[in-house]
């Protein structure tokens, strides 16, 4: 109820929610998807593969 009544009565809040919405859209729908994939999750499915990859990275074996 607070949310519903509050949102209806908002003046300044509308601008802020618009900024929040645009910001979250840019962050999650643009930046996260196109620029910030989780490197290990995008390359490997299994934990063992991720461990092996990082171990290779850390021990300098290719």
């Amino acid at each position: 109820m607070f949310y519903i009544d509050g949102f209806r009565a908002m003046t300044l809040g509308r601008t802020l929610w618009a900024i929040i919405g645009i910001k979250l859209f840019i962050m999650f729908a643009v930046l996260k998807i196109f620029f910030f994939p989780n490197l290990l999750n995008s390359r490997f499915d299994k934990s063992e593969e991720k461990s092996a990859f990082v171990a290779d990275q850390l021990t300098q074996k290719k």
Binding site: L12, L16, I20, S51, T59, Q60, K62
Partner: protein, 522 residues
């Protein structure tokens, strides 16, 4: 440096660090105001509930709007740091995953449930819930924000002083074995209080500065003076506790990150009864292994550094050269090995990890056991194995040195500012002193500079470590294209600058509108 790390574009590390620093700096513009203003508005509402004087309701509602603007613009900006962990710092993320996972998960739960629930009551619940419940919601919003900060700072403190974990060579991850050792690590406890109290100080400066703007404009004078009374007291408590916990920080840094302390002081040659440089001009070209003077000029307090760092007037404080040479008594009473020895043992640890995994793959249990023993024996120095020379272990001394002086210098300024503001507002002099009102207004950016300088000391001072002693940034970084990091650096620069401009524009408009009248409220 070993082959794979030399294969990295050196600028990749710098750009990845720059991007992380940029996002952290912008994120930290919003967080301390949330923490500091939260306490101030909660005290104002407490006064309203206790006195039933409508002036406190009006005052609270105005500062809640400023809080709301800052919260709305800043919310979720910290998530970008987590994006960067997964993409730019994937080795690090995997290596620490289990340790970071718990505090960050708790932070997410607190941030989402506590803040989202009570912030709605705080903003929308006036006259819809009882005064007591509304007040509780305001306090719980502030407590929720502070607890969110706690878990982030616990995670950060672990990177400065890794405790409560065990490295598992099968998963190549650090696994938590003692959650409470993480939470109650003296570094974490001190860092949390130091950060939160400094945020109170920043919030207080913002309130006094904006209130002074009203005084300069000769508007809302009673409202402005009431706001200054509350915030000057919060600021005074905040700065006293910030300084007290800062002393604790120096002590822990001396014990656990002596290189950071040496950089903070521009100290190359250690000594007993070391003096503390109050002001100085550092020699940018100085290296630990040359004979150039570390300072062109300095003004020092005798013995003070030893007293702060060891709590003994003649305590030994090592300089950069001593930390490289080793052989000095460490805080744990043992003789500290030389940097060359640490590098040697680090390389043994890295080789042992490789041998262990090869042996496990081949099913050779004896060889795996032997390699594991070598790894355990040398793991404390694992990260040193990525260095070629001791130069790699030295942070940017001038940047840390000057940032420390900016932080402390401004801290001393605020230690004088708050009692003066409190005294003059109590004696009804503040409203007549225009110079003080201008000083208060221009103190707002100084509070942010002090806060950011503190983080530069903490984070640049611990370089090259992502995790102290066990993972340097050169090993933590993902081997991705430098161009993509540069591109996203500039995207963030634009995004955050737009957000900051939006915050300033909306906030300025709201401040100019002033507190609501009774008619406007309804």
């Amino acid at each position: 440096m070993t082959s794979a790390t030399t294969a990295l574009d050196p600028s990749l590390i710098d750009w990845s660090r720059a991007q992380f620093a940029l996002t952290a700096i912008y994120h930290w513009l919003f967080v301390p105001l949330t923490l500091g203003l939260g306490v101030i508005m909660a005290i104002m509402e407490t006064l309203y509930v206790k006195t039933a004087d409508p002036k406190w309701r009006r005052t609270t509602r105005f500062w809640q709007k400023i809080f709301g603007i800052n919260f709305a613009i800043g919310v979720a900006t910290g998530i970008i740091l987590e994006f960067e962990f997964g993409t730019n710092w994937s080795n690090y993320s995997w290596f620490v995953g289990d340790i970071f996972g718990a505090p960050l998960a708790i932070e997410g739960i607190f941030a989402f449930f506590m803040e989202a629930t009570f912030i709605a009551v705080m903003f929308f619940g006036w006259d819809k819930v009882s005064k007591g419940f509304h007040l509780a919601s305001t306090w719980l919003t502030t407590v929720g924000a502070t607890l969110s900060a706690l878990w982030i700072l616990v995670a950060n403190a672990w990177m400065q002083h890794p405790v409560g974990m065990r490295f598992n060579p099968d998963t190549v991850r650090n696994e938590m074995v003692d959650f409470w050792a993480l939470v109650f690590s003296p570094v974490a406890v001190n860092k949390f209080f130091h950060t939160v109290f400094s945020a109170w100080m920043l919030g207080a400066v913002v309130v006094i500065g904006i209130s002074s703007w009203f005084l300069l404009k000769k508007r809302e004078i009673p409202f402005a003076l009431d706001s200054i009374k509350v915030s000057a007291l919060v600021g005074l408590i905040g700065i006293l506790l910030t300084m007290s916990t800062g002393d604790g920080s120096a002590y822990h840094v001396a014990a656990r990150q002596p290189m950071k302390l040496a950089a903070m002081e521009g100290l190359y040659d250690g000594t007993r009864g070391a003096g503390m440089t109050a002001l100085g001009i550092i020699n940018y070209e100085k290296k630990y292994d040359d004979d150039k003077p570390p300072m062109f000029w300095e003004l020092s307090f005798p013995k003070l550094l030893s007293l702060l760092a060891t709590h003994k007037i003649d305590g030994y404080v090592p300089g950069v050269r001593d930390i490289v040479s080793g052989g000095y008594p460490a805080a744990n009473g043992k003789t500290e090995p030389s940097m060359s020895e640490k590098i040697r043992r680090g390389k043994l640890a890295i080789a042992a990890l490789a041998d262990y995994r090869t042996a496990k793959k081949a099913g050779n249990a004896d060889a795996a056991r032997l390699a594991k023993a070598h790894l355990d024996e040398n793991f404390a120095y694992f990260g040193y194995g990525y260095f070629n020379t001791p130069h790699d272990a030295v942070p940017n001394v001038p940047l840390v040195f000057y940032s420390f002086r900016v932080m402390v210098g401004l801290g001393i300024y605020f230690l004088l500012f708050f009692p003066l503001a409190l005294l003059l507002v109590k004696r009804r002099r503040f409203e007549h002193l225009r110079w003080l009102q201008w000083v208060s207004l221009f103190s707002i950016p100084l509070a942010y500079i002090a806060s950011q300088a503190g983080w530069i000391v903490a984070e640049v001072g611990r370089q090259p470590w992502a995790i102290q002693d066990i993972l340097p940034v050169m090993a933590a970084v993902s081997n991705i294209g430098t161009g993509s990091v540069q591109l996203t650096f500039f995207i963030f620069l634009v995004l955050f600058t737009v957000l900051l401009a939006a915050e300033l524009r909306i906030m300025t408009k709201q401040i100019q509108a002033g507190p609501e009248t009774a008619e406007e409220e309804h």
